[in-house]
Amino acid sequence: MAPASLRRVRAIAMKELRQMSRDRLTLAMVVGIPLLQMMIFGYGINYDVRHIRTGVVDLANTTASRALVADIASSQVVDIVARPPGAEQLRNLIVAGTVHAGLYIPPDFERRRIDGTRPVAQVIVDGTRPGVDVAVRTISETPLPPRAGTGGRKVPAIEVLTEFNPEKRTAVQIVPALIGVILSMTMVIFTAIGLVRERERGNLELLITTPVRSIELMVGKILPYIAVGLIQTTLVLLTGVLLFNVPINGSVLDLYLGAGLFIAATLGLGLVISTVATTQFQAMQLGFFTLLPSILLSGFAFPFEGSPHWVQIVAQVLPLTHFVEILRGVILRGATLAALWLPIVKLSVFLLLAVSLAAARFHKRLD
């Protein structure tokens, strides 16, 4: 780049930083959004569902049936809060929402135990609540209390080994990916608004009559936000490690390289939005319009393996999908960037397309 270009890019970047430092709301967002999201997702959300309010109907009421109920209660998956007299009353409690699951032990429990061909008891689950179904399923694996004559434990046929997150802590799954979500939230909107605001206030009409080039303007606008994005990344990582004991198994340098690439790609998307939107309000709306599918489809919170094929294709277009892949790879699985070459390539392609599209759409003209 020519020295004149460099000087103009620096002037624009410095101006952006100066304006940002005077805008208290934006500054508050830079720090506030990551911290708030960390608290909500880190403390507030837990996939490892426990303490489900449960009703128990024990029509057998034998030593063994009471032992089974006690075993299930001690797993902490369920809290036994009601003991209705019969199946119908249990159902009514579920309909009313007083309990979300029920354990029904039939009167012929002892016979079924010996028989061994029919289930000894039944668990009823309120299917309207996400997560309860899966959680309660685990109690169906509770082994039966030992009976005289049939000593020994029941061993499951297949053992599940959860690697990299043996305690299955939600924070470990969510916090790394949260870096991507928080960056998506702030970066797209900052850049989109940054350019549109200048257009609304008339600054752009002045700028485009100066010798500044479109690409200099774009780069100058992006650079300060890359720095802001890396600060946010650090903030989320630090809270993740200090508050939620999220391990960083891979290289921190790899992590920041990946983050830098993602930030640039997201800023590119913001620039494209800024060439489409004519008011700050429109830019904001378009920003949120891209944010929601990113959060829902990127695999950040919901596994996209369950989505239909076309949704998975949409997810492939979203930069967050690939960054979540990189984040979980580097932070949790200790992967190197070389091993994660595929998402890296996809992100780079996205960055290239976004910046080219923005530069092509941005004219130094008013019409």
Partner: protein, 314 residues
């Protein structure tokens, strides 16, 4: 750069926005080192023309040459040669006056020593010292305008395009501003300025009057006033309303404006003895009045030029 005596030349300049013809076959020739004015009401095409001249808007048809450059094709080459002041204050309101100047100096890539010297000069010239550290958004209309002119002229452009620079400014600031413009022309700067103030238009070396996208008159203000093809009469009457209605049947009356206790009448040149005719009409209606011929003002020129042609509209 070529040494032509003409700074801006445009032929058949036309711009349409959908069905609206914003600028309609404008012919322009602006000499170097002069202040050239665009006088016209809002929506007459002043801003659109200025924006086309600096390459911000593409003409629908017509040719433009500015400082020897073919516009819009060579618009980028023109950027260093012009200073453009938008109608609205377009510097950054959350930056201080000083920061705005520093930023513009960097954007025009002035060498650090020259930037420092030019900024120091501008601070003195445009009396910016008193509010240099204040955010530009908190400045008064006149201060903003001084700052904008300082920022626009840092790189010493030979051509300034000023789009209604004084629309949000008090009369004293307007006078100061025009003093600054004359100081700039003394150093050879060409200035194109649009306005809707008659007194400002009268200060220009030459001007074009725009009306609904067309240039309806152009030339030096004195010449336009001297050559106004209308007769100007002033009628002083006690009963203005009666005088007004007495003149109602004068078919050759083009315009009648009230100035306090006087009426200012523009009468078409084909009325042979306008003075006598008006006196007789007033006497017939028993209106006590003094009627005399008056010199044409620039406002008369403007009104005359923007009137619909006789007989064209009811």
């Amino acid at each position: 750069m070529n040494g032509s005596a003409i700074a801006i030349e445009a032929h058949g300049l036309t711009r349409r926005f959908g069905n609206l013809v914003a600028v309609d076959h404008a012919e322009l020739s602006v000499p170097r080192g002069r202040i050239y004015g665009f006088l016209g009401p809002n929506g007459s095409g002043k801003s659109t023309t200025i924006r086309m001249l600096c390459g911000l808007i593409q003409p629908t048809s017509g040719t433009i040459r500015v400082l020897g450059l073919d516009i819009p094709r060579q618009a980028e080459a023109l950027r260093m040669q012009i200073g453009y002041m938008t109608q609205r204050f377009s510097l950054w309101e959350d930056l201080s006056a000083r920061e705005n100047l520093d930023f513009m100096a960097s954007i025009y890539t002035l060498a650090p020593a020259r930037a420092a010297q030019r900024i120091a000069r501008a601070i003195e010239e445009y009396r910016l010292a008193e509010f240099l550290q204040r955010p530009a958004g908190t400045l008064s209309g006149g201060q903003k305008q001084r700052l904008a002119l300082a920022a626009t002229t840092l790189h010493e452009p030979p051509l300034l395009l000023l789009d209604e620079p004084t629309s949000a400014v008090d009369p004293q600031s307007r006078r100061d501003f025009w003093e600054s413009l004359f100081a700039l022309t003394a150093t050879g700067t060409t200035i194109l300025v649009s306005t809707h103030y008659m007194d400002e238009a009268e200060r220009c070396h030459a001007l074009a009057i725009l009306d609904r996208g067309r240039i309806v008159a152009n030339g030096p203000p004195q010449q336009l006033m001297a050559e106004l093809p209308l007769q100007v009469l002033e009628i002083e009457a006690e009963d203005i309303t009666a005088a007004r209605s007495a003149l109602h049947e004068l078919k050759s009356l083009r315009s009648l404006a009230q100035l306090g206790l006087r009426l200012h009448a523009l009468i078409s040149p084909d009325e042979p003895q306008a003075l006598e005719r008006v006196k007789r009409l007033l006497a017939d209606q028993h209106v006590q009045a003094v009627v005399r011929e008056a010199p044409a003002s620039l406002e008369d020129v403007f009104v005359g030029a923007t009137l619909p042609a006789p007989g064209s509209e009811p």
